[in-house]
Structures are given as C-alpha cells and as structure tokens.
Symmetry: C2
Subunit: 481 residues, 2 copies
C-alpha cells in the first residue's frame, strides 16, 4: 500500500512576480511596518507543528482590524495573489504552508476580547486571542472556555481546524462553541454568519461552513464563543488495565451508563512506559484511562464511586484518585507529558502527532491493529486518545534521515487513514486536512463529496486565493450543472 497521488501537482511556485509586486506596494502603503518580507519572519510563518516541509510566504501582514483584513483580501483578490491566514502556527498538517507563495495574514494583533455576557454565557473575541488568554480574561467571571487542544492555539485557528481536545466528550468540539462569526470573504466582502441567539433555523448554516474550513473560504475577524460555568468540584481518577481492550470497553461501559463524564482519556502501555521513564510519576505500566467528573462535590464524589465500581468489572491493575488541584495536576501530567515523553524515547528523533477517529464501537479494534502495524513495520508510536469520541493519536517517533524508517512511517500513516475509513471513521478527528491529508480526503468522501466541497469552494472563492492547496481547490472537480 502506498500514499495516494496528490490530487494536483504541488507546483514549486506560480509566476506571480508582477501581481505580487503590485500587492506588496499596496499593502506596504496601508500597513507600513506591519508588512514584513524579512526572511526569518517569512520562514517562521511557513512552518507549523507538522513534519511537512516548510513553504514560506512572500510576505507577512499583521492587520489590526477587520477593515485591514478586508483591504488585504480585496487587494489580493484583484491580483489573484494567495492569502494564508495564520494564528499561532500550531496546526499539524501543513495548514499554513504557502504552497504557491503569497501573503500570510498573521492575526496575532487582532487579540481583543469583547465584553462577556454572563446571561448568554458568551464572549466576543478576535481571532488572534489564544485559549489561555481567553481563560485568563474570564478568571473572575465564573465562566470558562473548555476547548483544549494541547497547544495554546488561537481561537481563529481552533475554529478553522474544528479543534477539540480532552473536554470534548462533555462540552463538545469547536463546532459546538461558535455562536456566530464575522468573516471576510475572498473579495473583501464582510459577512456575519449568524445572530447572537443560541439556536436558529434561519437558512443555511453559514457558521458551520467556516468552522473547519482552514481559511479556504474566508478569514475570521471576530467570533461569538460559548462559555460554561466553572464546576464547583472536580475529581480525577487514573486507572491502569491489563489490556487495551479492557480499558476501552470500560470507557464504553462508563459512557453507556449515562454518567455525565467530564473527561475520559486513554494512554496505551507504550505511552505510559514512556511517560514513566520521562516523568517518574510512579505509574503502573498498563493501558490506562484518566477519567474526570465535575459538578457539585457530593454528586462528583458519588459519580467517582460508580466509575470505580464499573472499572472493577475490567480487572484494573491500579486505581488512583485525586481531589485537590495539586494531586489532579499530578495525574494529568501523565497526559500532558505524553508528547515529550514519546519524543524522548529516541534522543534526536522527530515526532509526528497523527490523528484519526473511528466510531467508539470500533476503537479497540482500530488501536489493536495500529499497534500490530507498528510492530510489523518496526515503528515506535505510543498511542493516546480521547476515547469518549473514538479519537486517538499516534505519536510516531522516527529518524527523518533514515530513508527506510521514513518509508515505514509513511506506510504506517497510510494504513491508519485507510483503516479509519474502513472502520466507518474519519482520517482526522481534530487536526484537519491541511495539505498533509488531501490525498486521503477523496478516499473518505468519494467523488460526490469532493465535488460538493469543490462546488462550495468555487462558489465562495472562485479565484482560489484563500489558502490554496489545503482541503480542496475550486478546480478539483467538475461543477454540478
């Protein structure tokens, strides 16, 4: 099995010299020093957290408001110059790579946080606000923003990749946290996708069209975000099991019981061994669940008792519980250190945090097969995941200078994507497509899905200037007639 051919040849660079010069001159006039063509700035903006090759843009613009974004887009649209929106660069599939050059639109200076509405449990934010900035701002309101991908990503980026994380099983993903968006379309048109009401049946769901669109349909300039009350009490349990299937079946039993679990994370025994070697937390080596309940103290305590009772049916090797913030942080450290612990398994090695998602009922099978693939291909790849959603990550650790290893890693990644599809799942639960997974998108959706996505792209960005080469291109499929 091999990786699929790219849908379209990734050309090294379009000949945009004249158009580009015109655009740069116009942007320089409007933005002054907030337009940079310095090599280090460009290089920093051409690379994300993935192991894909960097593609620096021709220039980086730092707009400070929606009017400047509209100016950048209308100028680039007129001259057919690509625009790549940039948050913090923590994406994992090459989302920010300037494959055809063009202007990187860095949103970091658009970081205002609007008034919080406690009655509506919402807040308006600009796209460059990061999730930690937002939660720091909310500290005294009794509310919080729960979506937590590992990185301190920008809200604009999290919306654009439909990000999630450990809290998704209770609170949902980014798609559930966007009430409405202000977007600038390719030609500079300003669009508000929805009202501030919590629900609506008024026409097409424009909001969800931009959530997960990776900046290919418009640039988000403001978002009304849903918040939640901070729970009064939280308890955490770490339970080690004798096998992967015992851990996952236990997770399914807990969710099926109707217990309103707040977090339910899985780490396989390879990952736990790596964390223990790295962090010396005194962990029992075994396939492990970290579970959390939140709410009023009495309810939480009773729910935790039930969880441990249910877990008892799956012959746990070890059960640890924690109530205090310090003790809970010690348990969560096992999860937070997972990535660094994996990388540390092989000094000098690189890591790929790959992502797929299957129906919960197929997760034990998906993980067992991923593990046997790793064994067969000789690839080291600890597994952790958001088992409540069927979403799991392999942290693939390898030596990029070893061609055979690289080939084996590519084969592993191909198998993971194709198996997710074969098991009724998706090639990515929360990282997105970028350009790293474009080839598999057609395998997941088939030609009808690709035609529908290309039709939408063509309808809203007919000149293909918005983050070209990511997800889909206007030219990827014939229009419906």
């Amino acid at each position: 099995m091999t990786s699929p051919a790219p849908l379209q040849q990734q050309s090294s660079r379009q000949p945009l010299t004249d158009a580009l010069e015109t655009v740069l001159a116009a942007l320089r006039t409007r933005l002054g020093e907030r337009l940079s063509t310095a090599r280090p700035v460009r290089e920093q903006h051409g690379q994300d957290a993935s192991y894909l090759p960097p593609h620096p843009p021709d220039a980086v613009a730092f707009p400070e408001n929606a009017d400047e974004v509209a100016f950048i887009l209308s100028t680039c649209h007129a001259h057919r110059v690509p625009v790549i929106a940039f948050g913090t660069g923590s994406s994992c599939e090459g989302h920010v790579a300037a494959l055809n050059g063009g202007i990187c639109l860095d949103t970091s200076r658009m970081n205002a946080i609007g008034p919080v509405s406690p009655a509506d449990m919402t807040c308006v934010v600009e796209p460059g606000v990061t999730r930690k900035m937002l939660n720091a701002h909310l500290r005294d309101t009794g509310l919080f923003f729960p979506v937590d991908p590992g990185a301190d990503a920008s809200i604009g980026g999290m919306i654009s990749t439909r990000a999630s994380g450990t809290n998704a099983v209770r609170y949902g993903t980014m798609k559930d946290h966007v009430v409405s968006l202000d977007v600038v379309l390719a030609d500079g048109t300003r669009l508000r996708t929805a009202s501030a009401a919590r629900k609506s049946s008024a026409g097409y769901n424009l909001t969800q069209m931009f959530v997960g669109a990776e900046g290919t349909l418009g640039v988000i300039v403001s978002a009304t975000i849903r918040l939640h009350p901070i729970p009064e009490a939280t308890e955490t349990a770490l339970i080690a099991f004798p096998s992967s299937s015992a851990a996952i079946d236990c997770a399914i039993a807990i969710m099926g019981s109707g217990l309103p679990i707040a977090r339910i994370e899985y780490l396989d025994d390879v990952q736990i061994a790596a964390v223990e070697a790295y962090s010396k937390l005194g962990l029992t080596i075994g396939d492990t669940l970290i579970l959390e309940c939140a709410g009023d103290p009495q309810t939480v305590a009773r729910q935790m008792t039930w969880i441990i009772e249910i877990a008892g049916d799956f012959e746990p090797l070890d059960v640890k519980t924690a109530q205090s913030p310090e003790d809970r942080a010690r348990i969560w450290q096992a999860r937070h250190d997972a990535w660094w612990a994996a990388i540390a398994l092989r000094p000098g090695a690189k890591g790929i945090p790959t992502d797929s998602c299957v129906p919960v009922s197929r997760m034990a099978e998906a993980i067992a097969l991923a593990r046997s693939d790793c064994a067969e291909l000789g690839v080291t790849a600890p597994i952790c995941g958001h088992v409540g959603d069927g979403n799991f990550h392999l942290c693939v650790v390898f030596d990029p200078d070893n061609a055979q290893e690289k080939a084996n890693v590519d084969e592993l990644l191909a198998r993971l994507s194709r198996r997710a599809i074969a098991l009724g799942g998706t090639i990515t639960g929360e990282h997105g497509i970028g350009y790293g997974k474009r080839g598999y998108l057609v395998e997941e959706y088939g030609s009808a899905g690709i035609r529908a996505m290309a039709a939408i792209k063509r309808a809203l960005d007919p000149r293909d200037i918005l983050n070209p080469g990511k997800i889909i291109e206007a030219s990827d499929a014939l229009p419906f007639t």
Copy 2:
C-alpha cells in the same frame, strides 16, 4: 411598518406542461401506483401546519428506497421539474407548498430503522421514520431520541428544518443529533456527508449544510442519529411568578448556576389562563416556568432543592413538584395543551404558531415588547417558549375572515421578526423559513449573507429544482467572481 416585498415574484405557475408530462410518464413506469395525481392526495401534500395558502403539487411520488429517490431526482433534473420533499406536513412556514408545481416526494414509505449501536449511541434511520416511531423502537435499549418538536414529525423533516423543542437546553437541537447523512443531490448524485465517527475535522461540514436546508440542496435518504441513555430518575417543577421578567430572570439564574437542567419552559400568564380554562388543572395564574432535572435519583432530588431555593429569590406565587410519571404528566399537560388552549380562547378562530429566538439576556425585553404589541394591536396571542435557548412562540389567535384582524396579525408578525433581529436574535429558532419568512431573511443576514446562501444553492442545485421558492433561490443574488 409593513411586511417586506417578496424577494422574487411568486409566479402562479411555470409553463411546464411538456416537461411535466414526460416526467410523469417516466415516474409512472418506475413507480406504478406509487405515483398519484389524485386531487385529494395532491391537496393533502400542498399544505402544512401553517396558515399560508395551500399550493398542491402536480403529483405525489411515494419512493421506497434511495434508488427510487435518485431516479425521481435525475428525471426531474433532466426536465427542470421541481421536487418538494415531504415528511409529515407538520412544518409551520409553508415548507411543502409546491409554489411552481412539480413532484412532491413523500418519504413516508422510507421508514426503516437500522440496527441500534449501543456503544456508539447511534441509530440509522430512513427519513420517513417519525420521532415517536423511533422512540417506540428504542424502548428496550435503554436509549432514547430526545428532540421533541410538538408534532410527531418525521426525522427527515426535523433535520431539514433544524427542529428542536423542550429538550434542546440539555441535549441540543437536530443539528447536534445528526452524525451523518445520505443525501441525493439535485441531479441524482448520491452523497454521504460524513463518516460514522462522533467528530471529524476532515474538510467542509457537509452534514450541517443539509441540516436546516429545507430540502433545497438535496433529499435526505438516510441519517445516522445520536441517541442518549434514558435517565434513571426525573423530577419536574411548575413554578408561577408574579411577572414575566421574574420568571425569565429566574431561568437565567438557574442556567448560570451550572445546574445541568434538562428542560426549562416558560408560559406567560395569558397562556396559563388559557390552559386553566381549557384543562382545569388547578394552576395559579401567573408567568410560569416548568423545570425538569434528570439523572440519578439522589442528584436529581438535590438539584430540584437548589432550583426551588434559587426560585425563592424571585418571589414565586406557587411551586408544585412531581416525581411520579403520572404527576409529571399532569404538569406537562399545561405545556402540551398550550396550543389547543390558545385556539379555544376564540371558538372558530385560527392559530399561527410563530417563532423567534433572541439571546437569553434579551428575552425578558423581547417578551415584554411582544406583549405590548399584542395589547396595542388588539391581538390575542399567548406566549410560551424554550427559555433556556431564548426561543419563544406566540400562538396568534385570529379570525381569518376579518380583514382588519388579519392586517393587525401581519403587522404583529412583522414586528416580531424585526424585533428579534434588532435584539441580536433570529427570525426563527426552530420552525425555519419556508416561504413564509423569506422576505425577512435578507433583513437578518444582509446582502452578504444572501449572496453566500445563493452561491451555495447555485453550486449544488443550479437548476433550482429542489423546493424552489423556499429559503433562497439560485437567482437571488449575483455570484462571487
């Protein structure tokens, strides 16, 4: 203030005779007696639960599977004949009216329920399955489907109007209950919108494009639906308050406390008086909340105690609680009888169940202004609503043969839609646009939103054959270039 002009003249009927004859002949060959041109059948399919004038289709087709739906669509597409999907006809804004004639595609024979997956908490259903059929089917599984618009609507129709109801505050609306859809597009192309995984970041959200699209972008032939564990215990409270604002402020305080409330419904004093006159339940006349908690018995009991404690701050006139199914049903009867009780206020009168939704923080204001409009215009219209979502309904009771009354009702409806927009809300929270609210859609979204919706419509249904005249038409706005 007057109703807006329709976006486009609703022509009395396109001259489709030749094309229609060709289509009817082809469909008759394939469907036999499952194609009907009988007048009573056509008339039944041209009218929904709204008070809009009926528009019967030229024929009604009763397909039994997706292949037949694809045949109907590809045939109608070839000859540019309209196709209007039909569930149970319980929509409220003329969604099923055949404004330009054409073929009504009645999905009632596509009512298979696939296997339930307890681990995934999902079930595959055909579009003609109604919510009560589904819950009857689920009876022994420990799972249930919570979305409950008043009527026993079809799942396909509920998806297509983005329906919700009393459970939305806890479980969300239809948009939160669709994992993936099988859709037939205008030209007969089959499309699967997503995998069976609980979440995905793989490309554009095709699923949400069809949720709420009112059959204007494709016809749903199968849906994977999310289910939930049936709670062990449920308690209900009915609390009467001295004013509308006291009731709504209490609702906001309860939601802000983080209590996981299951249902929270509002009925104004006019509505409660109507119900009491109709059903003799011994209700105290006052602005009333019906609240429900669900979960394990101990937690539910404690949550109910807190709710009543919080309500104490708002000087309640009366508090009733109920644990047993019989006592709870007696409380809910007040809500279920609301519509019939309103109509009964004026024997021989007709009712319009109108719908709007504002941010929760503006709901008290929206309701107060709606009530003063009713007083000013002399219109009788009890109010009830899903206060947890900011969504409320006026049941407008009037004599359709009285021109002045009809004019006052039109004025009231115009004010309600425009005020919802002015308060940061939407013209419909759960009923949809149909053709009854098309004129207000542009007021809510502005020209950019209309252009974006028309661009999507054009991309997927360029011949405008799918439920033409509802929500948007391909010709409503210029394309992006």
